[in-house]
Subunit: 338 residues, 2 copies
Amino acid sequence: MKPLLYVLAISLVLSTGICPAQTNQPPIEDFKPSELNQPGKQYPQVNSERRVRARIYAPQAQSVLLDIGGVKYPLRKGDDGVWIGESQPQDEGFHYYQLVIDGAQVPDPGTLYFYGAGRWGSGVEVPAHDRAFYELRNVPHGQLRQVFFYSKSTGTNLRCFVYTPPDYETNLSRRYPVLYLQHGGGEDETGWGNQGRVGLIMDNLIAEGKARPFIIVMANSYVPGASFGFASPNQPIPTNTPYSRTIAGPGGRNYNPAAFARMLIEDLIPYIDSHFRTLADQPHRAMAGLSMGGMQTRSITLANLDKFSHIGIFSGGSISTTTSPTWLPSSKRSSWCS
Amino acid sequence: MKPLLYVLAISLVLSTGICPAQTNQPPIEDFKPSELNQPGKQYPQVNSERRVRARIYAPQAQSVLLDIGGVKYPLRKGDDGVWIGESQPQDEGFHYYQLVIDGAQVPDPGTLYFYGAGRWGSGVEVPAHDRAFYELRNVPHGQLRQVFFYSKSTGTNLRCFVYTPPDYETNLSRRYPVLYLQHGGGEDETGWGNQGRVGLIMDNLIAEGKARPFIIVMANSYVPGASFGFASPNQPIPTNTPYSRTIAGPGGRNYNPAAFARMLIEDLIPYIDSHFRTLADQPHRAMAGLSMGGMQTRSITLANLDKFSHIGIFSGGSISTTTSPTWLPSSKRSSWCS
């Protein structure tokens, strides 16, 4: 299944790094609104140096900071009650950030919101030199589908997102390989589809003949489990969860690997294979993930080599021929180690 | 097509009103986290009186207000830098709201975010007596699909959401009626699926045998058009729009009715009929909308009675037998007025 080679490239969207030059020069005044701003909102803006400029009206505030890339930059107050200021140059691509108003950490009301670092917060896009890779173009588009399914192993209704390729709705006799694609720590099942733009990337690759069509399934790693739970008895596992809710966890970085693995193997894969036109066998089933999702991929696929044939680990550890997966049943070890 | 009767009920989610009693009594201390909070977040909370309690850490702030239902309620500061306070009782159901920190209007970092009033902002759920109607239950679920399509009339790629019923993926020979369902002013194509919970409502109605399955299409009324546009030349119509972006407008309340009508008739309906298993004729095509969406429904359907057979107007004007749609071609007038 060659397409996985291209999926590997997807992770570069999140990890591309150009070391920013630190400078005290005034910024070049060619700022433009970030493409991740809410409709009609003019700020934040980004200039050709890749600096981010934030702006907010806070007439009674004593201090406003732009908190991005691990650094808090002070904003300047104008006579009109508007605070404005810039960051040092940032890496290309997507960044989570927030504002700090008199000590209160809040999202910037100018941007769209994305789930990362265990919260829904602001995002800003620093234009990347290779952004055509993930742009919305006039090509045939697949669909990103929100799917609820009942998980017997956790006793709850869970949510995942499923990308189906452009010809899925018009070629009703075709069946497709499936990639299970997991988010990183502190992210959730919305990450690959939103800030990760997985559907747009796939649409573009398919249109260019660089990928064969396949289905991608993105679930939440933070499933309810025995060693896991909500923060207090006041926060029960929700039974009436609306669409945009991340339903499966507290957003923290603790999770129960066994509970997720069991949910994936016992609940999600059977659900997908019975509700989508999949090629439901090991040669056509892949798993990949970023960071924590890569670690999950490593442990789950090596323990289930009868179910997965293709493995993608993005910043989640490595597999070498000297790896000794002693926790792997000996019956499966040979097929992996050979 | 009887299901429209039930769709009418959907709008009650947004409009149910119980006049709150104004009182200066201290609140009853049975607050629980809103079900629209981010995972693990304990605030905002709601008590049995339907009061909303907000809480935020803002150690240097001079003033923090809870802005909900058209009223700004002052929060009280504790020695720990945490501000806390309550609203008067609110109506049952979903509410948009925000915090005001030293004059800065910002989303509450505790909640999920919803698009309304021309912005992505906080939402809080005051439990409704009939909330089983829109709860996530263990019933067969349909899918809510994000769909990009090229709109020739506007020259842009646009986004809509499409609900497909539970048996759509398992009964591949079946074709379905279609409802085009529009949001209200200042909202967008995400509104019915997120805060409107249209998919959960449909899943529940179908499971109870109260609705026959049909497809629902939700587009953005703020399409680019001649008398419409982005707020400044710095904000071009986006060409590389990510998934969660509202791509079709500035979020203001101005829109171009003719541009939307043309896009719907010339671009969207043909796209849906060629990419979904629809019953692509007038007897099986409906349109409905809330408020501004109701006004659009009224004008578009009455001018296109050869395309729509069922009409739902929710707080968007009315149609009576004495209505004289002089702007309607005479050939169509009789079929409507009879």
